[in-house]
């Protein structure tokens, strides 16, 4: 119990003292996860919308694959990205392994199916007459998609929250493709694991507290956007 209190106290100290190492870890966590979420948004929203708006015989199989992707274990994503980026791997010449870019790629792989699946659900869940009404008003395909996404914005923001939540909180892929290198690829989750392994529970609690504050701040921002009409 005393360690928890001590940890929270230490977290407070770290926060107000502006410890440069802690801030750089927190900033990298935020940067990597937001970048991955943004990539997932740019890929997942159009794909989810296209899947929702087109009927074809293979649709169930496609949606099933997306749903399976939503349950993709981060270590599997980490493994795949590691193999791709490995020095002798197909993308090895890019030299990205153990860099923040590699972490962004791995996290985007994790978040994209989540955003895709939830976008599909959001657009499919709209009253079908909205689409008919848009067609009757002369909307083109892209204009229809845009108007429907605006209608589904509450569920879409929830998709972004879910995608961001999945990546900011994951540790396996970040560890595998980032390597938890101090000052380079160490993020709040991997740093927390390290501190626990070292027996530094107070520091681990401090890092976790900062992580929770960051998560709350970002999701609060998204909630404000979600509730705005």
């Amino acid at each position: 119990m005393s360690e928890i209190v001590q940890g929270i106290g230490e977290a407070w100290q770290l926060l107000i003292s502006g410890d440069p190492e802690v801030w750089s870890i927190a900033w990298l966590s935020l940067r990597v996860s937001l970048s991955a979420t943004l990539i997932a948004l740019l890929i997942g929203v159009p794909i989810g919308t296209v899947i929702a708006l087109h009927e074809h015989p293979g649709k169930t199989a496609v949606v099933g694959a997306v749903h399976a992707g939503m349950a993709l274990p981060p270590v599997v994503a980490g493994l795949v990205v590691s193999i791709l980026l490995w020095r002798s791997g197909p993308l090895g010449q890019w030299g990205l392994l153990y860099t923040p870019s590699a972490m962004v790629i791995a996290q985007a792989v994790i978040a994209t199916p989540i955003v895709t699946g939830l976008t599909y659900a959001a657009v499919s869940g709209l009253d079908p007459r909205y689409r008919l009404q848009l067609a009757a008003l002369g909307a083109s395909g892209p204009a229809t998609a845009w108007a429907l996404l605006r209608e589904a914005h509450v569920a879409l923001i929830a998709a972004v929250v879910a995608g961001f939540g999945a990546v900011i909180s994951e540790v396996g892929a970040a560890m595998m493709v980032g390597g938890n290198i101090k000052g380079q690829t160490r993020v709040l989750t991997t740093a927390t694991v390290l501190e626990v392994n070292r027996g530094h529970f107070a520091t681990a609690i401090a890092l976790s507290t900062i992580l929770l504050i960051l998560v709350y701040a970002v999701t609060l921002g998204l909630t404000i956007v979600q509730r705005r009409r």
Binding site: D127, R129, A135, A136, G138, S140, E151
Partner: protein, 364 residues
């Protein structure tokens, strides 16, 4: 027929193995108003979506302005068509944004768009709501926005899917009045589908009866109301008395109604086959005391009053004879109202008796 604004020919819509719409031939002229009445599940919305070129029929053709609709030209042809659903289906944004959608989608320049939007908002009395959020409007306000939005491109054909069904009676009357004013002021055609016969009649013009995906009857509203072509059409057109009987003369001028007796037929006889049914509207029958002489040429059906209840403009009196009943509408303002149990004569003018083939569902 080729100069019809819209024409459906041999159109079928099949879902799974079920044919949900089968329209042999239906044409809407350039300035015609057509109301299609049908119960829930009769295919009203399917019919309207097919007319709106939003649903590709499984067979047959839909022509707009003489041009057969295809996947390739549907979007261009739809520019001539406005569509309003029962629910306003407004989108995020202001009233102005919503009304301006079609001009925006069709690439109309901003100044022209603004001019059109403002004009329509004024015509429908909602200029004051222009910058309000569309999702904050009352039912009547929202439906006025939906109508303005459908009309802003000056469509040649306006399609309405029970657009007033969700409104309270007072709001319904006022929105409907604005719509009728618009229809009167333009040369555009309009098709209304509804389950409400009163609404269909108020729309005026041509009346169609839809049941089981097929148009049972179609023609000038007065004619259709006076002479339903079938038992099912009569039922849907609100004919209160559908009385089975048999003809006793070759000229079919008299029918013997089961349980009632002879009645003279002057309202026409459809091709009736074996099981004729006489249609008599409640409002056409006059109730008389048993000792009162009947008007010349009318038929009298004797029975006793078993029920009296109010209707909007009359009393609904049920006259019974054995296990047969006859509904008579006695206007509040005039007419003799008997007491329950009293023996009366229901006097029927021959022109109010129209005979059609019997229905498959049996008759009372």
């Amino acid at each position: 027929m080729s100069d019809s604004l819209l024409r459906m020919h041999q159109v079928q819509v099949v879902r799974g193995r079920r044919t949900v719409l089968a329209v042999t031939d239906l044409a809407v002229d350039a300035d015609e108003r057509v109301a299609i009445v049908g119960p829930n599940g009769s295919g009203k919305t399917t019919l309207l979506l097919t007319m709106a070129l939003l649903l590709q029929p499984s067979a047959g053709t839909v022509q707009v302005g003489g041009e057969i609709a295809t996947r390739a030209n549907a979007r261009a042809l739809r520019r001539r068509i406005g569509l309003v659903f029962q629910d306003p289906m407004l989108f995020r944004g202001s009233v102005r944004d919503n009304v301006g959608m079609a001009p925006r989608f069709n690439g109309i320049a901003r100044d022209e768009r603004e001019r059109r939007v403002t004009g329509w908002l004024e015509d429908f009395g909602i200029a004051g709501l222009a910058d309000r959020r569309a999702d904050r409007l009352s039912g009547g306000g929202a439906q006025r926005v939906a109508l303005s939005r459908a009309l802003v491109m000056d469509p040649s054909l306006l399609l309405l899917d029970e657009p007033f069904a969700a409104l309270d009676p007072a709001t319904r009357a006022s929105v409907a009045a604005d719509l009728v004013t618009w229809l009167g002021a333009t040369s555009g055609a309009a098709v209304l589908v509804t389950h409400d016969l009163g609404e269909a009649l108020a729309f005026g013009g041509t009346l169609g009866v839809l049941s089981g995906g097929a148009i049972l009857q179609h023609g000038p509203a007065g004619e259709v109301m006076a002479r339903p072509s079938s038992f099912e059409a009569a039922r849907l057109l609100g004919v209160e008395n559908l009385l089975p009987g048999r003809f006793v003369r070759d000229d079919r001028s008299v029918i013997v109604l089961d349980g009632w007796g002879e009645v003279r037929v002057g309202g026409g006889v459809a091709d009736v086959g074996e099981a004729p049914v006489a249609l008599i509207r409640a409002g056409a029958i006059r109730l008389l005391p048993i000792d009162r002489p009947m008007p010349e040429g009318w038929s009298g059906l004797e029975g006793h009053v078993s029920e009296i209840g109010p209707m909007p403009a009359s009393n609904r009196v049920v006259v019974r004879r054995g296990d047969r009943t006859l509904v008579v509408a006695v206007p509040w303002s005039r007419g003799w109202l008997p007491a329950i149990g009293e023996t009366v004569i229901a006097a029927v003018p021959p022109e109010a008796v129209h005979v059609v083939p019997g229905g498959s569902g049996g008759v009372a």
